[in-house]
Amino acid sequence: MAVTGREIPRWKAEIVEELVELLRRHRVFALIDTTGIPANHIQMLRKKLHGKAVLKAVKPRLLGIALEKAGINPELFKEHLTGQVVAVFTDMNPFELAMLMDKYVTKTYFKPGEKTDKEIVIPEGNTGIPPGPMLSVFGRLKIQTKVQGNVIYVAKDTVVAKPGDVVSSDLASLLQKLGLALKEIRLRPKLAYDGVVIPGDKLVLNLEEYSGMLTTAHLDALKIAVELALPEPGVLQLVLAKAQRQALSLAIEAGFITPETAEAVLLAAVAKANALAAEVAKHAPELGLEVK
């Protein structure tokens, strides 16, 4: 990125100045690869993030220059400063930014030659398409149809592509005709920079995992609290329950029969006998023990 020593046209210099300013004013920037992303998705994101982030389509080389001027080593991003790049400048937590971007989806049509990321189903029913050349498209896609009142009906829900399949031109045109914009576009940063580089695959967090950790931590804390018989109502309930279970266990083991323990004690004895019977039955089927 040795840029110095070369004359930069004035309009480029202005852009660089603007980028430097954006970098200085924001704590965080992220890079998005917009190759193949429709412009309207970027527009939508720009609108949704308005006030929270600035989206700027940039030439990678100019961004590199700006980074250097802003005192950030462009080498950190070298491999990502290619192609069509949109830079996002923000003060948001980069993980929040990524999760927010992940929530905004644009639907569009699959193009011929694209790979699907999901199963595509042509739904049963009225297609609104008159019979004619399209009938053979249905035919080639092995979709059963019938014609009623001069309209093509799909006989039943039909899977026409599985995840990973390449979309044929027949399928692409059919989806267009049926108004099935099934391709979901969502953008994730390739990386974010917040003092350190955070790669894109780390940016979208597994919330279930965090919930799980919270649960585990809380349960562990409860275990300690119960063990200490911490005098808080929520904890004491568990402690009392534990004490009661232990008391009953002791009563059972001692065969201590009172009106309130009798049933539990007997039940335990029977359960144990059943267990033994089951075990004996394995060794001596001739006894015909029947534990049901």
């Binding site: 029969i257 009798a262 007997l266 534990v291």
Partner: protein
């Protein structure tokens, strides 16, 4: 639990769970019988529907392994 097993044995054999019978069974098993325990056992068991308990024991789940904590 010896006293309990003795009672259940009597029940299954169709005998009355009386102090005398419980004592006889326990003694046959070589248990030094504690009169007091026999008394309180027999009294308590009178109030229980053993048939129902046995039914429950079977209906009751049967949990899998020892759930090791």
């Amino acid at each position: 639990m010896e006293y309990i097993y003795a009672s259940l044995l009597l029940y299954k054999a169709g005998k009355e769970i009386s102090e005398e019978n419980v004592k006889k069974v326990l003694e046959a098993a070589g248990v030094a019988v504690d009169e007091v325990r026999v008394k309180s056992l027999v009294a308590a068991i009178k109030n229980i529907d053993i048939a129902k308990v046995l039914e429950q024991a079977i209906a009751a789940p049967v949990a899998a392994a020892p759930v090791q904590a």
